[in-house]
């Protein structure tokens, strides 16, 4: 989602990125050399200028490959669970985490997928990352920043082992995603249905949103089952609607808001709107939201006897 009408002046200057990169490397080197961790999961430069890609480094000599840039969009927690399962079996691992990534890590700890004592967390004071369809070489600006980052509440991670970089005063950006949410909420049910019907009709069921989601770590997805088939697997409108509803429901109360689903969607379906909506609703209903600390029980794994039941006759 590109914000073409917005200002293109850089939000932070280059020295910030240099400082973060240096801090990541020195911390990674320290924990690798001391033998505290066996590998570091971070970002390295990609082939195109300014681009970055995830990397797992288990050799001290490669530490200097680590970088941080506005293109470091990936939520690396994925590489601890389903993408590279063998990684977490190697013992303690260091991982570079932005605020939103940290929320995902905390969620995974709450769900017994990770143990805090097996992780060395290198937190990033993060100004934000690129949205999709942005040239990697471009600077981070109001025009290029991801929509989720415009209303980020976790620029500086908490409860990590070290923090890389310090943030300058950040410009307050308009909350486009919340504005879009409000626009949808103001519509009639029929209007919203038309909106989502159109959005989901484009879905090609490539499942990128699922593959990239740190919380979609099931061995077998409910939506792939055919005995019984709860959700149609072919990319027909009915199955698409089913899939996106089930996805949003399964992430409700868990989603960390990294918006990787939305970024990776080749059809540009605004999936994070659903995630944000559900997070808002659960916060309003039960006062719980995904945070930087693991929770014993998420909002849908617990209850209070006096929970709202105004909708029940």
């Amino acid at each position: 989602m590109n914000n073409t009408k917005e200002n293109t002046t850089p939000l932070v200057d280059n020295s910030y990125y240099e400082a973060v990169t240096t801090a990541i490397r020195s911390e990674a080197r320290r924990v690798m050399e001391s033998g505290e961790v066996s590998a570091v999961i971070g970002y390295k430069s990609g082939r195109r200028k300014g681009s970055a890609q995830p990397v797992i480094i288990s050799d001290v000599s490669r530490i200097d490959e680590l970088v941080f840039a506005p293109t470091c969009t990936n939520n690396l927690s994925l590489y601890l669970t389903k993408a590279k399962k063998e990684v977490s079996k190697k013992g303690k691992i260091a991982i570079v985490a932005k605020g939103c990534d940290l929320k995902a890590l905390a969620g995974l700890m709450s769900e017994s997928q990770l143990k805090r004592e097996n992780l060395h967390l290198i937190g990033i004071s993060c100004a934000g990352v690129h949205g999709s369809n942005v040239k990697p070489s471009e600077a981070l600006s109001a025009a290029t920043i991801a929509r989720k980052c415009r209303e980020c509440t976790v620029h500086v991670p908490e409860g990590v082992d070290c923090i890389a970089g310090t943030l300058p005063q950040l410009e307050q950006l308009s909350a486009l995603e919340s504005a879009e949410l409000e626009r949808l909420e103001a519509m009639s049910p029929a209007g919203r249905w038309a909106f989502w019907k159109e959005q989901f009709s484009r879905c090609i069921r490539c499942m990128a949103c699922r593959q990239v989601c740190p919380f979609c770590y099931c061995e077998q997805c409910l939506c792939d089952r055919n005995r019984p088939q709860g959700v149609e697997t072919t990319p027909r409108p009915a199955g698409n609607m089913g899939w996106h509803i089930v996805r949003a429901m399964h992430l409700a109360g868990r989603c960390a808001g990294c918006a990787e689903c939305e970024r990776s969607c080749p059809m540009d379906i605004p999936l994070n709107l659903l995630n944000r909506k559900m997070a808002n609703e659960l916060k309003e209903l039960y006062g719980q939201e995904a945070g930087m600390q693991p929770q014993e029980k998420g909002p849908l794994a617990t209850y209070k006897e006096d929970d709202d039941e105004s909708f029940i006759k």
Binding site: S112, E219, L222, R225, P228, Q229, G230, A301, T302
Partner: protein, 665 residues
């Protein structure tokens, strides 16, 4: 291809009157996978069941749908029948076309369509049913009885006499309950204490009974045969092992002006006390709220005078966990108080009777204490305000009971009889006094009951006035009772010295909270619900929990005692076997798919989910998964709905079964 048999019941005419059963059978025949369909007048009758058994064998059926009444009624019947013909009982489902169809719809066309659709849904479901085998669980042969009144005592003695261990828990410092408070009992007028106290002593001396008085149920875990009950033993401040019950502490306690609730606050007791002289156990407790030592740290007299050194101010509440196989609930009743009730309460007080502020307007239990030889007046009927002997006493019946506008619509059952008894006791003690009774009608069903009631009128001079009382008010030292006599059609005004109210019988305060701990249901008044009003009157819907006495509904002593013995018999039936068979409706985890997020564990109300390690032959850990303990699982299926990958499935209600039903909509 399945070979399903569909059996449509006419239920006499109950179903066939509105549902065209022949058409339903014909439609069922055409459903894919149905090998046999028929209709019959009474499927649940012997010939009906035989028809089913024969079809299972002749038609080689692998699934059955019986379209008849509610499965709550006859599911067991048909499952048993199928089983005797060699078919796994869990391959039988019932389509409810009576309660959910023929009885609630009049239009024959609509009802027939609906019945056909219900049958279709169940046929699709039964195709997905799996053979299940019953689960056996061990039974701990120890019973818990909650409440030490006559019902609890009777149940405890019966079970203990049978050779099983019983844990009896009583909230008060002594067992005995309400019966210990009564003066004499109807219809024989024998002294309550004389027949009650020997039973109390039997409990105390019984080698198979562990008695926890001054104790409450803190928590109940587990399930039939395997409960873990946490009992809170409140601090008595007296060491039960050391105390000899000599009573010196009570005699020497300087704080003697505490109203004794056992005597309905008419008498006084010290801060260290037993509620009444025949208490079991005869060990005093310190009422810490009123004890000078606990209030100010000064005094300590009881400790100084106690020879055996039993008084212990440092005692704390203690939690005891008992392994229990079956629970008898006998928490009894309390009387409706006519005082002002908090706003919004369904129960209203009696402003017209002065909201309980006129001192000589008392309830039946207070009269019992006045009439009791061991009571505060030594058995003399003296009115509370000035201690004078009342010459005119008015008894009012149905105060609270059968009064919908006051929030209670039921009859309290015992009041007619005890009021008749009160008039007699009064006449015996105040020979020239006059008793009046305002009543709606006298309900005296019971052996010797009506004769007893008539005696109170014919031999004991009580004047019964059929009618209600509209108002009571104090006038000088009299209470004016304004009422009507509907037999004569006149207004009546009596200047009474004392008024006795037969107030309604209610469950104990907090009965609902205990029910929630036990997982049993209760009605709108908080009386505990039996599993079946007629056929299972002492069992709860929750397996392993039984009811005795007035906690289930108003009862007199003989009824309470018989129900207690019935509950004891149920417990003994359970204890007769070493193992218990349970329905196999429990959750199972698919180890391959489970990703160990433990949502199931977080939501399980029974704590049935554990973590299980899967190792290879060398003992290396492959993964950790969830595991459901089938003995603990209650079968609610909350885990399955919460499992993101549906790796846990509830047998009997699998996704496949439910989806098949939905697909058939």
């Amino acid at each position: 291809m399945s070979r399903i048999g569909v059996f449509i019941c006419h239920c006499g005419e109950n179903i066939s009157r509105t549902v065209d059963v022949e058409r339903v059978a014909k439609a069922a025949e055409k459903i894919s996978g149905v090998a046999y369909a028929c209709e019959y007048k009474y499927m649940c009758s012997d010939p009906g069941q035989n028809l089913l058994k024969k079809a299972v064998i002749d038609q080689n059926l692998d699934g059955i749908v019986v379209a008849a009444c509610s499965p709550r009624m006859h599911e067991k019947t048909f499952r048993k029948a199928a089983q005797s013909a060699g078919l796994n009982p869990y391959l039988v489902e019932m389509a409810n076309i009576r309660e959910h169809c023929s009885w609630v719809h009049e239009d024959r066309e609509e009802a027939t369509t609906k019945a056909t659709e219900i049958v279709t849904m169940l046929v699709e479901r039964v195709k997905m049913n799996k053979k299940l085998q019953p689960i056996t669980v061990p039974v701990t042969k120890r019973a818990l009885v909650i409440g030490g009144g006559i019902a609890g005592i009777q149940a405890a003695l019966d079970i203990a006499d049978c050779g099983h261990h019983v844990v009896l828990v009583e909230r008060e410092p002594s067992i005995g309950g309400h019966m210990a408070q009564l003066s004499e009992t109807f219809p024989t007028l024998d002294c309550s204490q004389c027949i009650m106290t020997p039973k109390m002593v039997d409990v105390a001396n019984h080698p198979n009974i562990t008695l926890h008085t001054y104790s409450e149920i803190e928590n109940v875990d587990g399930y039939i045969g395997n409960f873990q009950v946490t009992i809170k033993k409140k601090a008595r401040s007296v060491d039960m092992d050391k105390c000899t019950g000599c009573g010196v502490c009570m005699a020497k306690c300087p704080q003697k002006k505490i109203p004794n609730s056992f005597d309905k606050d008419l008498g006084m007791r010290p801060a260290i006390y037993v509620p009444f002289p025949q208490a079991v156990p005869n060990t005093p407790v310190i009422d810490r709220e009123n004890c000078t030592y606990f209030k100010s740290g000064k005094c300590g007299v009881c400790q100084k005078v106690c020879g055996p050194g039993a008084v212990d101010y440092t005692q704390e509440d203690q939690l005891v966990v008992e392994d229990i196989g079956a629970i008898v609930v006998a928490t009894g009743f309390e009387l409706y108080s006519i005082g002002e009730k908090p706003k919004g309460s369904a129960i209203k007080g009696y402003g017209e009777f002065g909201h309980g502020k006129i001192p000589d307007v008392i309830d039946g239990m207070t009269f019992e204490r006045l009439a009791s030889a061991s009571g505060p007046t030594g058995g003399k009927i003296l009115r509370p305000s000035d201690g004078k002997e009342p010459q005119q006493v008015v008894f009012l019946q149905c105060v609270g009971s059968r009064a919908r506008e006051k929030g209670i619509s039921y009859c309290s059952k015992i009041c007619c009889m005890y009021t008749a008894k009160h008039t007699m006791l009064y006449h015996h003690k105040v020979h020239d006094g006059q008793a009046y009774v305002f009543f709606m009608d006298a309900r005296t069903p019971g052996k010797g009951y009506d004769e007893f009631w008539r005696r109170s009128i014919e031999d004991e001079n009580a004047v019964y006035i059929r009618g209600a009382v509209s108002r009571l008010y104090q006038k000088g030292d009299k209470i004016v009772v304004m009422g009507s006599d509907i037999a004569l059609g006149i207004q009546v005004e009596i200047e009474a010295d004392m008024v006795v109210l037969a107030t309604a019988v209610q469950p104990r305060q907090g009965a609902d909270l205990l029910a929630q701990k036990l997982g049993i249901s209760y009605d709108m008044y908080n009386f505990y619900s039996e599993a079946h009003a007629k056929l299972r009157p002492v069992e709860c819907a929750t397996a392993g929990v039984y009811l005795a006495g007035a906690c289930q509904g108003p009862k007199d002593i003989p009824d309470s005692v018989s129900q207690a013995s019935a509950a004891a018999a149920k417990v003994m039936t359970l204890f007769a076997k070493d193992e218990l068979e349970r329905e196999p409706i429990v959750a199972k985890v698919n180890d391959k798919n489970c990703v160990a997020c433990f949502y199931c564990k977080k939501v399980c109300p029974y704590g049935a989910v554990e973590e299980k390690e899967i190792r290879d032959r060398q003992g290396n850990l492959i993964k950790v998964v969830a595991w459901v303990n089938p003995g603990v699982c209650g079968g609610c299926g909350t885990c399955q709905a919460s499992c993101p990958s549906k790796s846990v499935e509830l047998d009997g209600y699998t996704d496949e079964q439910i989806m098949a039903q939905i697909e058939a909509l």
